[in-house]
């Protein structure tokens, strides 16, 4: 069966996709391929039409925001690639992000200096690992992932692409899982899980093939609800929002495919974002890169906590039940965890008494939960099955450098 992607617009998708979906009956498996999609299209697809909330195209290519061309995964027409100062850690996956805004519309700054995207906006985030042959790597420089126009498919293994689609009634997150041939990704509303092994880069091993994987774990693709779970930063409104596309995260240059100019300026230049006199680009906040040598340890640690924890641990988020707030705006030391006893940490205490014991990362719950792989203890709760060594080291160094002491060595209820 062969279906021409060009005639395969979202309008016709429900009926057609459904038929395919049922006939193929294979979409539950992450590695399943579909013959009809194995011939890559080099044609530009029609522009996506994300206005109807009822449409769930089962193929990523139906959206037109990414396509496979000449052994590269490239942004679709008018989609712009970007990245973040410090990204969320997800099992050392590399990420390729694109933003697409409907023609004739542009995102704007709201009164708080946040970017509001028009209905129809589609954000994509593709999770992938560097590879050589069958081996996937966790530590290879990401500049090696790219070809001339996009991701070089002979150098990467595509895992999944998550879309955030701005429907008329709000944002919606949709997970697509790539087939083994890297020709197409299929919608997996129920998410998925599979085993992965990651090796250390060859350079660290004198060019020899690494013998044993450094990380072996069950990679989990979030289900539809789990997508929303992280992207709802205010649980009382239950509004799904993009996490990364805040000025402070994207206020940087993008190194890979377009000119190394500021991404926000690039958005403006390409008509995706309208400038604001109230929030001139030059004055926008900027989070630190976690490995920057030019900014303070405090800024780097707070930036890391902001993107990795702040979407739940803020004063309105799902993590507000803990009284621990880790978003960048928080200034109260106690609420940031300094000398703060846990509320409902359960196994997450790791036998420690406060979130942050200044000077003593090994007595701090915060670093314990970042290192733990126990589902009942680890933080974040979703999105990782490995510990982020570099992130843990950063937060430990931050705690180590904190002055003061808290004097809690036991809990007694009488």
């Amino acid at each position: 069966m062969r279906i021409s992607p060009v005639t395969f617009g979202p309008r016709t998708c429900i009926r057609l996709c459904l038929a395919l979906f049922v006939l193929a009956g294979l979409t539950a498996c992450s590695d399943s391929g579909r013959d009809s999609a194995s011939e890559p299209s080099s044609q530009l697809l029609s522009e996506p039409k994300p206005e109807s909330a009822d449409e769930f195209p089962v193929l990523l290519s139906d959206w037109g925001v990414l396509h496979v061309s000449k052994q590269e995964l490239v942004p679709g027409s008018r989609s712009v690639a970007y990245d973040l100062n410090t990204p969320l850690f997800t099992d050392y996956a590399h990420k390729f992000r694109t933003l697409w805004v409907p023609k004739g519309k542009a995102a704007t700054f709201d009164d708080e200096g946040m970017i509001q995207f028009p209905v129809g906006t589609i954000i994509s985030k593709t999770f992938f690992y560097p590879r050589e042959g069958e081996h996937l790597y966790f530590d290879r420089d990401e500049t090696l992932d790219f070809g001339s126009k996009g991701l070089a498919l002979d150098k990467v293994r595509l895992i999944e692409t998550r879309l955030l689609v701005h429907r008329p009634d709000g944002w919606q997150g949709l997970p697509y899982v790539w087939n083994e041939q890297q020709t197409e990704a299929n919608l997996e509303i129920a998410g998925s899980a599979f085993e992965l092994a990651l090796y250390a880069g060859t350079s660290a091993n004198g060019g020899a093939r690494p013998a044993e994987p450094v990380h072996q774990f069950t990679y989990a693709v979030p289900d539809f609800n789990q997508c929303q779970g992280c992207h709802i930063e205010d649980l009382s409104t239950e509004k799904v929002r993009p996490i990364g596309l805040k000025p402070r995260h994207i206020n940087k240059a993008y190194a890979h495919m377009h000119e190394a100019e500021n991404q926000l300026a690039h958005f403006v230049q390409n008509g995706l974002l309208a400038e604001s006199s109230q929030f001139p680009l030059a004055a926008l906040p900027r989070n630190a890169k976690m490995d920057s040598r030019e900014v303070s340890l405090n800024e780097r640690a707070r930036s890391y906590l902001d993107i990795n924890c702040g979407h739940c641990h803020n004063r309105a988020g799902a993590g507000d039940t803990s009284g621990l707030f880790l978003n960048i705006e928080e200034t109260d030391q106690l609420r940031l965890g300094v000398c703060k006893p846990p509320i409902a940490a359960g196994q997450g205490t790791g036998g420690r008494f406060v979130s942050i014991q200044p000077g003593k990362p090994d007595q701090s719950i915060l670093s314990y939960r970042m290192e733990s792989l126990d589902l009942g203890a680890m933080m974040p709760e979703l999105g990782r099955a490995t510990a982020h060594r570099e992130g843990v080291d950063l937060i430990k160094a931050w705690i180590e450098a904190m002055p003061g002491e808290c004097n809690i060595e036991e809990v007694n209820l009488i």
């Binding site: 979409t27 539950a28 039940t321 409902a344 205490t349 007694n412």
Partner: protein
């Protein structure tokens, strides 16, 4: 292939839902998630549902208001956390012994089921052996949990998940006929909520059986709390969205809550003395009456302040009221209890005051009172700690003075408080 009748959902994406069902029922396997074999409670095969997990997950995701999602009879292996985000949905099984979701092989998710929606009914099923919490409901209105069992089947173990049934920041909560066993923190844990009823339920072999925390207006009655470390806890913790008050604990059986404390160190309930019947900490307007207390080895009732809990940056913060006030204990029956208290301080105190064979009185209190409201050590009548059980006494352990002057002086404690109003829920 599938005999069980599936829930049929009316939805504006109905054809897609149907499509998912077809796929789910077509028999997908080898996708990295176990194929489930369903069996009835009596062991006979009812049906083999291929990838029940995927089907249930899809039903939860695609649910529409008014849907009833059925969990058929059988044991079903679930490996990744489930979630429900749609208002007005019922999840219904064939009974807490018959319809079982087991999470023994769980590889993802901090809960078995996380619900973030209003007007939810959960009934007639069981969740077993989750790695973290069993069922958490975060920010909700109008929640009913009826005849649901949450259990860690290997018994008390520090590696068990923390909470069994865990509504937090909810308004109007009914937990009726539930069973919670083996939680390494609290079996039934209602946090930061308002208007709560927990009744006809059984909590056993948890660290805390039933815990009401930072909750305003809760009735806890006709329950059995047995063989926990602490039976029923009424707490306030600092730094949260609301301070709890007004809890009535009545007509419960609170028996032999002497299981060793297996909570991880550092957690609040890690500080619950082994052998606590009812433990009130830093909460106000708590009435304990018509309960049957038996053989809780530290004490049948403990009243304490947050001062005992931790030295406390939170106390220095001064936004938190650490005192337990307006506590009214009356018309309970007591059998035994207080013979073998936990903690070195309490052991020493018991031995010194009551001898090797003696026992603590039915109520012990840490002795902290708020100097800002007390007059020469006596709380105003409306905030007093009152014990009207004539046969019982209260021991003030005098923790503020390093246990120097423990006493059974009842002069300020033979008092009464006006009854609290029953909690009324907008549903049955």
């Amino acid at each position: 292939m599938v005999r069980e009748k599936r829930a049929v959902m009316k939805t504006n994406a109905g054809s897609i839902v149907a499509g998912f069902f077809v796929v789910a029922l077509m028999g997908l396997s080898g996708c990295g998630e176990p194929v489930d074999k369903a069996a009835s409670a009596d062991g006979s095969n009812v049906a083999v549902v291929a990838d029940f997990q995927k089907q249930l997950r899809t039903q939860l995701i695609m649910a529409k208001t008014g849907d009833v999602i059925e969990i058929p009879k059988g044991r079903f292996e679930i490996t990744r956390g489930l979630s429900l985000k749609v208002d007005g949905v019922t999840i219904r099984g064939a009974g807490m012994a018959e319809s079982v979701l087991t999470f023994k092989q769980q590889t993802q998710g901090a809960e078995g089921l996380i619900v973030t929606a209003d007007d939810i009914v959960l009934e007639g099923f069981a969740v077993e052996d989750t790695k973290g919490d069993a069922i958490k409901i975060n920010e909700c209105r109008n929640l009913v949990i009826r005849e649901v069992r949450v259990e860690w089947t290997a018994g008390p173990d520090e590696a068990n998940g923390a909470y069994g049934l865990y509504p937090v920041q909810c308004e109007n909560v009914l937990i009726d006929g539930a069973v919670a066993i083996g939680a390494s923190d609290a079996g039934i844990y209602v946090g930061q909520s308002r208007n709560v009823v927990v009744k006809n339920s059984r909590a056993a072999y948890n660290v805390a059986g039933i815990e009401i925390e930072n909750t305003i207006d809760a009735d806890v009655f006709d329950n059995v709390a047995e063989n926990n470390t602490g039976g029923i806890l009424v707490f306030n913790l600092p730094g949260l969205s609301q301070r709890g008050e007004r809890t009535r604990v009545f007509r419960n059986r609170i028996v032999s809550n002497n299981t060793d404390n297996f909570a991880p160190e550092g957690s609040i309930v890690g500080g619950v003395p082994v052998g606590s019947g009812v433990l009130i900490n830093a909460n106000d307007h708590v009435h304990i009456f018509d309960n049957e207390f038996e053989h809780n080895d530290t004490a049948n009732v403990i009243v304490s302040s947050y001062f005992s809990t931790a030295d406390g940056a939170e106390i220095k913060n001064k936004t938190f009221d650490p005192y337990a006030e307006a506590i009214y204990i009356h018309d309970n029956s007591y059998v035994g209890g207080g013979e073998s208290p936990d903690t070195l301080e309490l052991k020493t105190l018991k031995l010194a005051m009551y001898g090797l064979d003696g026992r603590f009185p039915d109520v012990i209190w840490d002795g902290y009172i708020n100097p800002a409201v007390a007059d020469e050590g006596k709380l105003p009548a409306t905030l007093a700690i009152c014990l009207q059980d004539a046969q019982s006494k209260m021991l003030n352990v005098d923790a503020p003075n390093g246990y120097n002057n423990p006493n059974e002086d009842m002069a300020n404690h033979r008092c009464e408080l006006a009854p609290l109003k029953p909690v009324e829920l907008p549903f049955g």
